[in-house]
């Protein structure tokens, strides 16, 4: 596989955040090859990234409801998630591994009709989300099982290298998107944080991030510039670099080395769940046995993420 074909390989690391893996890889290679990505491609990358974040958080919120035995609520979240998957199918041509990111830009454009379709769907998605999130955040049973459970202080979170909603749930405002990759710099983003550091705070961060993503997609569509969607990269990558992006579960980190040949010399990937395992070990001591599944779930563990 050459460096361009690797995009399809890294996408398959995780199906839930496949686009963001490809984005991280492409940004690293673009840095090595000095490729300037056209503005429209950068905005399209934000749209697909945020839709991926939303569907991942929907999936997780559904699983949380399922962990409490709230089957109906689980179905509500997953039914809403289906709408997001349909958006991928219509705009990218595939539901899970969307394969739209490429070195130098994106492989597909979104037509004006499909942009309107996304906006229309987002209205329905937001309405269902309002109802379902209201139950997750205010239900007495869920609150009793999450508030004050699995507390991680800000100091512990930083020391143990927590990332993503686990870190932000402890009140640390760190989000790789604030560094402004793709079009995040132009769109502007404020990290979502909660102070408490318990399972409830992490749930609330993810629920609020769904709304943040809704807002980002709407603003990206509104400000989507015209023009090319990709540039053809010339030559081959040479050198070593790192690339960081924000995944639904936290910061994703790629280290890549190339020696000027068609194949990469080295590729090291650090996924967010892997970074969130040490904080999980710090959350568990002293908790009740029945709370272990919910606390474990609160870091949003992804097996394909952990298996590096």
């Amino acid at each position: 596989m050459d460096f361009g074909q690797n995009v399809f390989l890294v996408e398959r690391i995780c199906g839930i955040c496949s686009f963001i893996h490809a984005l991280c890889y492409c940004q690293g290679i673009e840095k090595l090859m000095d490729v300037e990505v056209p503005p429209r491609a950068r905005y399209l990358r934000v749209i697909w990234s945020e839709l991926h974040r939303m569907q991942s958080h929907h999936l997780w919120l559904g699983l949380l409801a399922d962990a409490f035995g709230y089957e109906s609520l689980f179905m509500q979240f997953w039914r809403n998630r289906e709408r997001l998957m349909d958006i991928f199918e219509r705009t990218a041509g595939s539901r899970v591994i969307i394969s739209t990111c490429a070195i130098g830009g994106v492989r597909r454009d979104i037509s004006p009709e499909n942009l309107q379709y996304i906006l229309d769907e987002l209205v329905v998605i937001q309405k269902t989300l309002d109802d379902a999130v209201d139950v997750v955040l205010n239900d007495r049973t869920i609150r009793a099982r999450t508030v004050g459970k699995g507390v991680l202080t800000a100091k512990q979170a930083l020391e143990l290298g927590a990332v993503g909603p686990v870190l932000r749930g402890s009140g640390v405002a760190v989000d790789a998107r604030t560094e402004g990759f793709a079009a995040y710099g132009e769109l502007g983003i404020e990290p979502v944080t909660e102070e408490a550091g318990d399972s409830y705070a992490r749930t609330k961060v993810r629920a609020r991030e769904c709304y943040q993503s809704l807002d980002l997609v709407r603003r990206a569509i509104e400000r989507l510039p015209d023009g090319d969607i990709a540039v053809r990269p010339r030559g081959r990558p040479d050198g070593r670099t790192v690339s960081r992006v924000e995944q639904p579960r936290g910061e994703l980190f790629y280290f890549m080395g190339a020696d000027g040949s068609a194949r990469l010399d080295r590729l090291r990937i650090r996924t967010p769940t892997f970074a969130n395992v040490p904080p999980l070990v710090a959350m568990l001591p002293g908790c009740e046995m029945a709370d272990v599944p919910v606390i474990t779930l609160s870091i949003d563990p992804c097996i394909s993420c952990t298996e590096r």
């Binding site: 399809f8 199918e89 219509r90 041509g93 595939s94 591994i97 394969s99 109802d131």
Partner: protein
Amino acid sequence: MMLSRVLSNLFSRPATRPFPKTSREPVEGYRGAVEFSQEECVFCGACALRCPANAIEVDRPAKTLKFDLFKCIHCACCAEACKRGCVQLRSAYHPPVYQKPEFEFSGAPVLAAEASPATE
């Protein structure tokens, strides 16, 4: 709120579709079944070169093309690479099969595997 949800769920249609009876309208632009146009192909090998999964094998001197459906990842790189538009991805699924079919054709268009799903 609870009562209105219960009532609406009682009287609304199900959210799911009774699949074999009613199937969904195919979505335009879906990367589905891979189709080769045998008459147009000049066996240049561009599709095989770009394929990340090595699902296509082209023998230029012998003028043959082999396509392994079970290796294909439906990325549409072959369709992008083909200058003559011989490879296309239809917005439909490949039908399920009992055996692993291999689609093959040569300069004089001949189908090696009969009833290959890629040609249906």
